[in-house]
Symmetry: D2
Subunit: 371 residues, 4 copies
């Protein structure tokens, strides 16, 4: 194996990234080295690529250069000396929240929110590269029935799964309103359909994305630019006057949160997944939370490996077909084009998947009927 590789590297504290030749990482004793078959663009990557205030404060310029990316499907090509669970040749994806086993949360079964947790592609080098190294502890062996272009998005699909199921997993035969039309909201729509949610409302901005939402099973899509519709009233009218049993905030904007707390029925469950642009969101504590008797579940990452198990099963069984969401397949060296697509406004994409290897890309295109 060559000891250098090509990778998408954040080199300077400013927008952009470089396609560089860098050393292939050497896995630590309890890490594995993975040949990347497919990787995909997440909003976090967009923030780092664009080097916004969050990136500056969370990553910091001192850590650069650093390789971007954290969603992946690949093949293990080397294992550290202490590895026992994962073998060379395994077809894997990876949980990107590298939990610390000594965190109280990790000890209590909440590995995804430990205090000392590290994140792939944020706290160290990521997977927008030909190879990447990752702790064995977060590897997930993929079902061979799931091709790389779909396996790579299991991580954000796990976010969607967790947000939809919440902490109680009580969704079947209930109604849901999903705020947002990014890929995670679209995955949530597909899972909601597969999980027997019986009225699925998706509230979004992009006609392109809302069309995908309909293909994923949304019963009603509502555009925030359509001022003729009173969305709160619309949802009530379609839920016997009560409002939605479950609301997913996948936007984080104060207006979405406010509307979500109006759309949810008394006694419902609200999944707080969106990240707000402001440090403080005004909330109607009395009428929105207390008197309404709702539950709010903060959703950060995804239950490890609970969501991986479910997502794997949903994909491998064909219960959810996410192909309408995987809209763009590109070679990894055209990452800049991928970021342009992902940052488009209005959104003209679902998920953008990148391939270091041309043959993998062409296989994927064929499977997706994109040739």
């Amino acid at each position: 194996m060559s000891r250098t590789m090509k990778a998408v590297v954040k080199t300077r504290p400013e927008p952009g990234a470089e396609w560089r030749e860098v050393p292939v990482p050497i896995p630590r004793p309890d890490w594995v080295l993975v040949r990347v078959r497919a990787t995909s663009v997440c909003g976090t990557d967009v923030h780092i690529f664009g080097w916004n205030r969050w990136a500056e404060s969370r990553i910091g310029r001192d850590r650069l250069p650093q390789i971007l990316g954290h969603e992946v499907a690949g093949e293990v090509v080397e294992t550290g000396a202490q590895c026992s669970r994962i073998s060379v040749g395994d077809y894997i994806s990876a949980e990107t929240h590298i939990y610390h086993p000594g965190d109280l949360q990790a000890m209590l079964g909440q590995r995804h929110i430990g205090e000392r947790m590290k994140i792939v592609g944020v706290d160290h080098d990521g997977c927008f590269a030909e190879y990447f190294a990752v702790p064995e502890s977060v590897c997930w062996v993929n079902d061979p029935a799931i091709p790389p272009e779909l396996a790579t998005v299991q991580e954000p699909m796990g976010n969607a799964c967790y947000a939809l199921l919440g902490e109680d997993c009580d969704v079947t035969g209930k109604t849901v309103a999903i705020f947002g039309d990014g890929p995670t909201a679209l995955f949530a729509t597909g899972i909601a359909r597969a999980a027997g949610l019986t009225s699925i409302f998706v509230i979004g901005a992009s006609p392109y994305a809302l069309e995908i939402a309909r293909r994923m099973g949304a019963d009603h899509t509502l555009s925030i630019s359509d001022t003729t519709v009173d969305r709160v009233q619309f949802v009530r009218d379609h839920t016997g006057g009560y409002g939605a049993d479950i609301v997913l905030d996948m936007v984080g904007a104060p207006q979405a949160i406010k509307e979500g707390l109006e759309i949810i029925r008394k006694g419902g469950r609200f999944s707080a997944f969106g990240v707000s642009g402001s440090a403080s969101v005004p909330i109607d504590y009395n009428n929105g939370i207390v008197f309404k008797g709702i539950q709010i579940h903060g959703i950060s990452g995804r239950r490890i490996f609970d969501t991986w198990y479910r997502v794997r099963n949903l994909l491998a069984s064909g219960r959810v077909d996410i192909r309408p969401i995987v809209t763009h397949l590109l070679p990894l060296d055209r990452f800049a084009e991928g970021f342009d697509i992902a940052m488009g406004n209005p959104r003209q994409c679902g998920k953008v998947v990148l391939f270091p290897d041309a043959a993998e890309l062409s296989d994927a295109r064929r499977r997706m009927g994109m040739v």
Copy 2:
């Protein structure tokens, strides 16, 4: 309104029932009178019709004559003076477990298993008649999108819903093995498919019923007469070697319970819904329950009205299409034929629905494409 009506009456403590002219019931102040549009045959009715040992001890000969039946869809034609929630003209079905509000269980949210609970068609007159009276407290207003031939089976579909969801409702993305091929098992299969269970195994005896199971979404049907298949091994082979996350016993036979405890994975959930023919079932307590760390949930009736809400939503939204299960539509006066069909061995039916009114029957047949 005429003050007499035709009804299927158990008159003597022996097999059979009579088609008789009887008085239309007069509802008590907190009861309503319902014109029966459709009613359906349950295993309990079969036991009473056949007057087996259970019927003799549970009902007793002193209570006869008594009208059979408890699954129903109809129109309210009269309300008692104290009724407030239900109005004349409402299109309803009814929970058949008439809970006593003072039972501790009812006070704690477990209305379906109260100590003083009464059962329609068992503890008093049922609905195999042109009219029947029922407490307002157990009425459920139907969605108009659900026609009577389907609305009448919401009650057993509620059993199936409760058995599948158990007390935790955690099913999405998991695997399930269903023992049984009676109508409730078939409903459970359909709900399992709608709820995102990703490997659905149905173990039954009747080729006819297993074919319905496949139409309802079973991934694998296993016949107990096929001695070439090791069912425990088969399920393990299709669940990564672990066994099913969830097992539903809808048979009650010792062999099914034994096999279910072998098929369930460690840490799984077993819904005990089947009724055993014997007073005592031998169970491998250590290896089947303790060391395996499973949960067993006793399922009696269905959560009131939680399951009604879900079943209504699943049917009205079209998420579950139960028409393959509703195999026989007959006029009520041909009830004896209905019982013959329901008691057939091997089973050659799903659910048998009966209609007091010829016009309702012919509408239903048309809707079901049976003309």
Copy 3:
């Protein structure tokens, strides 16, 4: 029985109330008439007595005159014709949220937050009187081991129970921080101690009330007027650096909510019970809820009758001794003095209990060792 009685009546839309001779209420067919043995002052009564903006908008001047009060223990002296569960002579208290059985929430087991729910003493006459009428459906038969001066406060103790247990009831061996020092916070402290919470922090303003908190089992009381203590740091220092597993907001003030979201550990549960004085509370949505992966449970009223069952058991068994909280016993005609005590600032009381009958009062005083 005399057909008139003395009662505390809100007669005019202004502060105050009158001690008036009024007709004894005649119970409706499904209501019962109760001879009041003890009643107690709640914050809601204080709002109505003072006729603040909430009272003006929630009750409205058109409904006056109206009798105050909703916490009660008494003896049933008459039952309506339709009553079956409660009998004359029963020693009862009453759930004050009169649920409507047709509300979706009530049908799904969330009776306390139905859309059409009515509240005793708010939506109709209350129990600051010699007699009061209440629906049989909300009556709770008291354990005879619980004397009236304690039985009357089971209703707010139920709030405390619900707030502490939340929707998951998972508290044993965990840590809790309680914001507030009103009676409900003090009840929560006592229940927390009885339920095996292992570090109990109470944050309050009144030295008098914090002393009661200590007697109820608080491990640490923190005064908000003590500016030398960093409360967030203090709680972290006493919880291994993580923060409290559970936080109860029983204040509603933005500062308490903010501090609560800082004090709670990642993955903890926050019970939102306090009512905010402002329509909008600024909340750090990202760092307080989403990234922290917490749950917020809106607590309105109490689970009916789940909390009554638990509170009854806790009191009757002696597991919780609430006598330190019941600080003032007065004859009912000295209600104005009771309100003065309850409205004192800084708080110099726990719970104020009122007695229409002098003999009951003197018995209670003797039992409480107040003579």
Copy 4:
């Protein structure tokens, strides 16, 4: 450090064990070496010491010689090269179920029941020795407030905690019947008292142990040798006629299971922890499980590390004082005497704690007031 140590070694497939000089174990890279400060005798050790059929089949003669024991408190004196969480000098106890991180159960948060799990003292050398080696992954850092003679029994106290809390942790204000009077049942009694269970029934055989149960907080102790008491009726009489909300089987005998299923109220929860002497237990499936609508939770081991967290908190806070249960302190070389005590019939002990070091023993005796 000397490279040999004294240990209690099972050398031959027959009753008994030897006090031998053996090499100090050398920890693997991800293991630690612990100086044993206190260790305690569990029923499993008794089975191995007595070399019954279970021991013969589970361990097998080929693995001998093997050191006994798995309950421990000690000080880490050496860490393998790959250890990061635990340091030399840490005062620890250890989870004895060494989970395999790749088991599905472990990945889903059920580490205690993984397929490939190993058990300390069963699958490899245990801690009845001056030193023992254990994987870092199962170490639990003790609270320094808990002395070794109590810290060593946290492991079985975790069993008791898990059995009492079950999978739902909903216990406060409820009633419980505990079958058994061994140490785990006694721990469960103490935790039940601390957790706010309001009627605690303990059903046992040994007057000595039942006296400890009373000291731990049992409200009612019932001796199985007292034939004048109908225990089912007794519990119903003390629970409003309903039966206990929760039943713990800590015996495993068919009679206890049968009685437990009679004593539990409809809709209650039954923790199956006892291990039956027979391969098959006759169970009244219909009336005991299905119609009663109960839940049975199989309890094997304890949730890792959820129960450790709770037990640590309960002990360190003083909420549970387990000193009445820790009845015997002995030097480790008098292990044979310890086994005699533990195997006494009728039981004349609670927990037997052993000390490799005389000074530790004498300190412990002083703390326990046994000098």
